[in-house]
């Protein structure tokens, strides 16, 4: 099995020295300098209703902080005026049978269900479709939510689909942003690729959403593994192999734009585009770089041109939240590792129902714990090695192929991540990206905090493959965290542990020196 293969390879390559010896330290490769980024910022949320969020939610009216520390008010302009150019991300909105509807009527119908005002640009009809453009991902996301909520006078559903797009022609010549040149977006039926032009070498360019060749069948590839895929929804068509080259992408893109969607009757709602944030990472053109591993201000001096990009994780979460996680298949290496941990413990006496047996993790009947049942789904997959003693279960819960991984992800509860508050630490080293990202999200009507630790490597110039992925899920709701879990006694006895209080922020300040906006900008 693949598990054995990775295990054997791993064991052969290292000796099993157990304890790090303080007296035998030797330096590693001195050239293995990496670069880091950490981010703690707030962005305009994706138009998620405020009632679902805790205090992190920022209203649309609030200023949108960009990474340079400047703040620009997101003015909502009247129809006909240009929208705020802060984001620079354009989206095409397609109404499949929009030819039937008069423009004003249609736009009013959509606006009536859209939680934010939008300014349509270049409204036009194309074949059977009505199309227009909007700028700004949060508006696009709000429009995406309109799908399925509007009907025409004959009670027929009016579908609304959203795709990333280049800026419309009338706007393009006004745009001087390098982001447009640097970011090419390819759309397939359901999934998106974010690729960056000019990115070469060993360094990570972007994360996640991968291009999928619509001609290959994912169902077929799953069956080759002989797995039971009854739980797995058909996600459309995926390309299991490497992603397309940019020339292919461009060619496919135009054909897909016109092919979609008026023929299919089971169109899934789409979207999901990653907004390039204003923060950017430095990448090096490998043709110019003497050493792909040394990044940073010092290295920058050696490079006549240094392109600036940023790793954007939002796309992963958007697919994760989309209700169909099959799109993540291409984000993982064939033999990636994934495991999940949650501190939820059904043995907690505060939660235990009478007659419950404290045997193991996954055998517990989670329905006994109704206040906690929403964490049960995570708990079933949880591989908390502190608690999990059954060795076969430990093996089982470490998912080791991308199909196993995605199948695991697909059975986890539905989520809605709040990407407006995102804490991430990243480290590049010899072409490997190490990342820890903490995001808050909704899952089964409870607020959860997700911390995702992953290692990823580039597999081509345009895509990233996750080789290790560890997800930690916990409650983030203040009420539920007050002394609910028993705190294990530390090595030194401690009298009483005070309950968690609101002084956390002050303490955070003590720990943190600079939080957030301390990215290093390297301009081209």
């Amino acid at each position: 099995s693949i598990y054995r293969r990775r295990y054997n390879n791993w064991s052969e390559q290292v000796s099993s020295g157990i304890c790090p010896s303080p007296h035998q330290q030797q330096d590693g490769d001195p050239a293995t300098n990496g670069t880091h980024m950490s981010t703690r910022v707030r962005y305009t949320p994706y138009a998620i209703p405020p009632c679902h969020w805790r205090g992190n939610f920022q209203k649309q009216d609030q200023v949108q902080a960009n990474m340079e520390g400047e703040q620009k008010p997101p003015e909502r302009k009247m129809k006909g005026e240009r929208q705020d150019e802060t984001s620079g991300s354009w989206f095409k909105i397609i109404i499949p049978f929009g030819i039937k509807y008069e423009e004003t009527w249609l736009l009013n119908l959509i606006q009536g269900q859209c939680s934010v005002p939008f300014t349509p640009v270049e409204f036009h009809y194309e074949k059977m479709q009505a199309q227009f453009f909007v700028e700004n991902a949060s508006i696009a996301f709000a429009l995406k939510s309109v799908n399925g909520k509007i009907w025409d006078e004959n009670n027929e559903t009016v579908s609304v689909f959203v795709y990333p797009s280049d800026a419309p022609h009338s706007v393009q010549k006004e745009l001087m942003s390098e982001k447009v040149e640097q970011t090419k977006v390819m759309q397939t039926q359901d999934y998106l690729l974010i690729a960056s032009s000019g990115l070469l070498g060993d360094l990570i360019t972007h994360d996640i959403a991968m291009v999928l060749n619509p001609r290959n069948s994912m169902a077929a590839s799953l069956q080759t593994h002989g797995k039971n895929i009854s739980k797995v929804k058909s996600a459309g068509e995926l390309d299991k192999s490497k992603s397309l080259q940019p020339e292919e992408m461009s060619a496919n893109r135009s054909s897909l734009c016109t092919a979609f969607p008026d023929k299919s009757t089971n169109i899934r709602s789409v979207v999901h585009y990653v907004t390039p944030w204003d923060s950017e990472l430095c990448l090096m053109d490998s043709q110019e770089s003497p050493s792909p591993t040394s990044i940073g201000i010092a290295a920058h001096k050696k490079l006549p041109t240094c392109k600036v990009r940023r790793v954007d994780q939002a796309g992963y979460y958007l697919i994760y939240d989309s209700g169909d996680r099959q799109g993540l298949l291409s984000a993982y290496h064939d033999e990636a590792c994934f495991s999940l941990t949650t501190p939820f413990n059904p043995k907690d006496p505060a939660l235990a129902a009478p007659g419950n047996t404290h045997t193991g993790q996954t055998t517990t009947s989670c329905s006994l714990f109704s206040p906690r049942s929403s964490l049960c789904e995570y708990f079933k997959e949880s591989r908390n090695l502190k608690k999990l003693k059954d060795p076969s279960l430990r093996v089982q819960l470490l998912k080791q192929t991308k199909c196993d991984i995605v199948r695991s992800l697909c059975v986890l509860p539905k989520t809605q991540h709040d990407l407006s508050f995102f804490v991430v630490d990243m480290w590049f080293q010899t072409g490997v990206l190490l990342c820890v990202a903490e995001v808050e999200g909704m899952s089964q009507d409870s607020v959860r905090a997700f911390t995702r630790t992953f290692i990823a490597t580039p597999v081509s110039n345009y895509s990233l493959c996750i080789v290790n992925d560890e997800l930690f899920v916990r409650d983030a709701s203040p009420k539920e965290t007050q002394s609910t879990f028993s705190i294990p006694v530390p090595t030194h006895s401690c009298s009483s542990w005070p309950t968690l209080c609101q002084k956390q922020q002050e303490v955070v300040q003590t720990f943190s020196t600079q939080s957030g906006m301390n990215l290093q900008w390297l301009q081209k």
Binding site: P20, H333, A449
Partner: protein, 127 residues
Amino acid sequence: MGDKPVWEQIGSTFIQHYYQLFYNDRTQLGAIYIDASCVMWEGQQFQGKAAIGEKSSSLLFQKIQHSITAQDHQPTPDSCIISMVAGQLKADEDPIMGFHQMFLLKNINDAWVCTNDMFRLALHNFG
């Protein structure tokens, strides 16, 4: 421990060693790192044994206790170990705070060292 894969044994042992060291004498923490190691602590970056050791010593609390509520270890393709720890900590008399920490462990000349260490206080309090 006989049934555990090697990386779990190593990861668990390292974790235990690390937090004991942190509690007992964190000035000695530098010993588990190498000069190429990079620590990211609440977004701040420190590289190399000296810098890391200095930062550990300069932290503003006398004693810090860590209580681990979850840990997980995975092998990496290049024969390292990635270890994830989540738990709560208490520094002196400050309130308990949640934290998350990731270690990347590498075997160099039969000794396991930490090449990367990322520490973050939890965004939110949790149990």
